[in-house]
Amino acid sequence: MSINAIFDVAGSAMSAQSIRLNTVASNLANAQTASSSIGQTFRARHPVFAPLYQDQLGAGGTAQGDAQAGVQVLGIVESDAPLQPRYEPHHPLADEQGYVYYPNVNVVEEMADMISASRSFQINVQVVEAAKTLAQRVLALGQ
């Protein structure tokens, strides 16, 4: 029954979006975390989404099932954007030249990402609610 599959699909999307929200939160939390070398500096992290087809979910690779794709998180990649060196010789973490390194977190981008993730999450909640209504109507058929 494909209404039950809707719950799996929307659930995988909600899980993926919450991972995205988590990375946004950690990026924003660490946006001002300075360090004394390039290697130790926090870098912005972003999840990579990919479709997850139903036969991969193990629900049986039928002709109907292969159409329904959930979402999986393939991995989390770190941003390649350049770090921000700042000349702060009085900072306790400053190196010999007086520089500290700040993460390459773009706060504006992260805020936009946060709004997008929460909107997508809401959409999937609505889908689950609609699917629940449909399933209840089917169960009430014939009464």
Partner: protein
């Protein structure tokens, strides 16, 4: 005259199955609204229903002998189509969440309409059986 469930329920049974399947496809589109390179899919409801109805009224090839080769796929196995994007994104995703949401809501209403029709059919059968 014997009561035949296939004849009694009409096209609504097929319509319900197609709409259920379409709900799943649209939910998958919405789930992948942020997945790079994901392409939105949809079903052509009218074509599928015409196919289902056509099989019932006999306008399709019919096997009258055991040796005849069966023609056509079963009524529900319609092909999934790709949606034509109005505004594709830079990452190759063609899901427009607003369109998909509207279609999903409409499909849910249609699904409930089909259920209501089926319920009416069952009610009719039941009152015929009771003979009251």
């Amino acid at each position: 005259m014997a009561i035949n469930f296939n004849a009694a329920l009409g096209v609504h049974e097929q319509a319900l199955l197609v709409r259920e399947r379409r709900a799943g496809v649209l939910a998958a589109n919405l789930a992948n609204a942020d997945t790079p390179h994901f392409q939105a899919r949809d079903l052509d409801f009218q074509a599928l229903i015409r196919q289902a109805a056509g099989e019932q009224d006999g306008s399709r090839l019919r096997a009258t002998q055991a040796l005849h080769i069966g023609a056509g796929a079963p009524a529900i196995a319609g092909d999934l189509l790709y949606r034509t994007p109005m505004q594709p994104t830079l990452d190759g995703n063609t899901v427009d969440a607003d369109i998909e949401m509207a279609q999903f809501a409409r499909n849910s209403l249609d699904f409930q309409a089909s259920l209501t029709f089926l319920q009416g059919k069952f009610r009719g059968l039941r009152s015929a059986l009771k003979g009251e």
